[in-house]
Amino acid sequence: MSRQYIIRRLLVAIPSLLGISVVLFCVLALAPGDPFSEIAANPAIPPEVAASLRAKFGLDDPVWLRYLHWLSAMAHGDWGFSFASRINVDTLILQRLPTTLIVIGAAQILAIVVALPVGVLAGTRPYSIFDQVANTLAFIGFSLPTFFTGLLLIMLFSIKLDWLPMVYNAELSSTGWPWLWEQIRQSIMPVMVLGLFQGASLVRYVRSAVLDVVRLDYVTTARSKGIGERRVITRHVVRTALIPVVTLVALQMPIVFSGAIVTEQIFRVPGIGSLLIAAMLANDTPVIMAVTFVFACLVVMFNLIADVLYGWLDPRISYR
């Protein structure tokens, strides 16, 4: 694995991102309505003013010209202007992104921390009671959609028991420990819902990866070396079983982000996902374009991370 390989992969990513942006832009251009449709419908604004505004922002230009405008602005670091929020799109995204990253990050950590030991234990003791219980729970876990479990938790813990806040507040007034306490209290439910959903499918991947490795010849070799069952499992089974799992986790990250859109909506988490939904409802094209483009960048980035990790974990694979 070389630095050259990573640089080359990053260079290859540029045309694919360009292609993605063209498709996104065209699809958005085809969608009905634009940020000024409301202005046009407002009788208080004279049609000439509306027309001059449209001309100023180039909304009636051909699609390819608008795309080139957008592209050159992006190249200069100008992400556009949100008509609905009246601030720059990049400021808006930067406001929302940390919340999303914290919630998703915590959920992913929870998923891995739960799924790894459970999956390994279940895989090394197939068809035991533990394995069957873990399997059943995992099956239930990923069969229930997050919008259902989310609402269920809100019903139980916010409405019936009144233990946890129902709405996520990004601007908590308190500081220090009380702030941390509030932060944890309001994050528990979204993190749990997202993390356990992810963890449930991860358990099954880990379990089947471990099952595949455990019956391989080199595990018997490792046992014959008298190094102890614990070492056999951690060094020889888990280490190799993790190769497909790690890449899978990395490749799934974009799906996690899109799953977070739903979770953010349910718990009113003011993250990038709820920003996207709000922008769509408000016909705020620059924001929709920017957020979807950020998602596209994440997909490309995690693909690269998956490949790099794969080469790093498996010495049989070398990139030149």
Binding site: T220, K225, G226, I227, R235, R239, R316
Partner: protein
């Protein structure tokens, strides 16, 4: 009388499957003396490998289980031993190498690491010392440029070289017994000879004993002092190697010997190789009598009624056949 190192008595290793109990090893007696090479022969599925793995308790339990018998290692029964006790014997006193050198090494660790792991565990060496010792082991098994090769991964070695690495790993703690489970079956013929020679050399150098499991009668003739012939989970004949080839008593052994290809004769006369008709009976519900009876051309009524007892037919030569 030489000192007995390993003494397997009436070993029964059975497996619970969906179809019922498979009696893979069903009452095996064999022993290995210090310094000798014992060949264990028989066709695929006769229980050779299960016997070998039973000695190191490398059988998955469940589905496997020891139904009966003893595995006496220097007089001490291994069957009741716990995991920790077994781990002190594995690699340090009894080492094993397997049939498939391509899959027997972990692909994600360097060969040096995998050899050093054994030394760190049993000889309590530090990481650096263990790696140095691993280099020495690779040199011992004639791997060229060991200083550099020690940092290579298994996929960078050929099949024969990997089997050398396996031998180096097995030898690293100077065990008293090496169990070689078809060590040359997966290799080219020319490499086979090299590996056998290497194992012989190692054995002489370290003064250890060897249990060589194979279905190649030629290999047995070349390397072993004594031979045990297994059929369908049981030992059918046991003899010093000269007696076995010179005067095979069991019809199955005779068949095995006749099925050795003779290149010289085949080239001249285009003789058809003699095969034993039929195949190994199911070990699910074995018949009460001699298990070879259904394929034996001398089979009589009494063969089907009960398992023929062992009888001594010469010095160290025992056979389970009524003939």
């Amino acid at each position: 009388m030489a000192e007995t190192l390993l003494d397997i008595r009436g070993l029964k290793t059975w497996f619970a499957t969906d179809d019922g109990l498979v009696r893979a090893v069903d009452g095996v007696d064999l022993h290995i003396d210090r310094g000798e090479t014992l060949g264990v022969v028989g066709e695929s599925g006769c229980g050779k490998t299960v016997t070998a793995r039973s000695v190191l308790k490398l059988i998955d339990m469940p589905p496997g289980r020891f139904e009966d018998g003893q595995i006496l290692w220097q007089g001490r029964d291994l069957i009741p031993l716990g995991q920790d006790e077994m781990d002190k014997i594995r690699a340090r006193e009894i080492a094993i190498i397997f049939q498939e050198p391509m899959t027997s090494l972990n692909p994600v660790y360097t060969v040096g690491h995998q050899i050093a792991e054994v030394l760190q565990q049993h000889e309590k060496l530090g990481a650096r010392q263990a790696m140095q010792a691993a280099v020495e082991m690779l040199r011992l098994v004639n791997i060229p440029n060991p200083q550099k090769r020690v940092h290579d991964y298994p996929h960078q070695f050929s099949g024969g070289m990997r089997q050398r690495v396996m031998i180096a790993m097995a030898m690293s703690c100077k065990p008293r017994l090496l169990i070689a489970d078809e060590p040359t079956t997966a290799l080219d013929v020319t490499i086979q000879a090299q590996i056998l020679e290497l194992m012989q050399e190692m054995k002489d150098k370290l003064g250890m004993s060897m249990m060589l499991i194979t279905h190649a009668m030629g290999v047995v003739a070349e390397t072993c002092q004594r031979v045990v012939v297994m059929y369908a989970g049981k030992v059918v004949e046991e003899a010093p190697v000269e007696a076995l080839f010179g005067n095979p008593r069991h019809p199955y052994t005779q068949g095995l010997i006749r099925s050795i290809p003779r290149v010289d004769r085949a080239a001249e006369h285009k003789e058809r190789l003699e095969a034993i008709p039929g195949s190994v009976p199911s070990l699910l519900d074995p018949p009460p009598g001699c298990r070879f009876a259904s394929r034996c051309k001398y089979a009589m009524d009494i063969c089907v009624r009960g398992m023929p007892p062992f009888k001594e037919v010469g010095p160290g030569h025992r056979v389970a056949c009524v003939l």
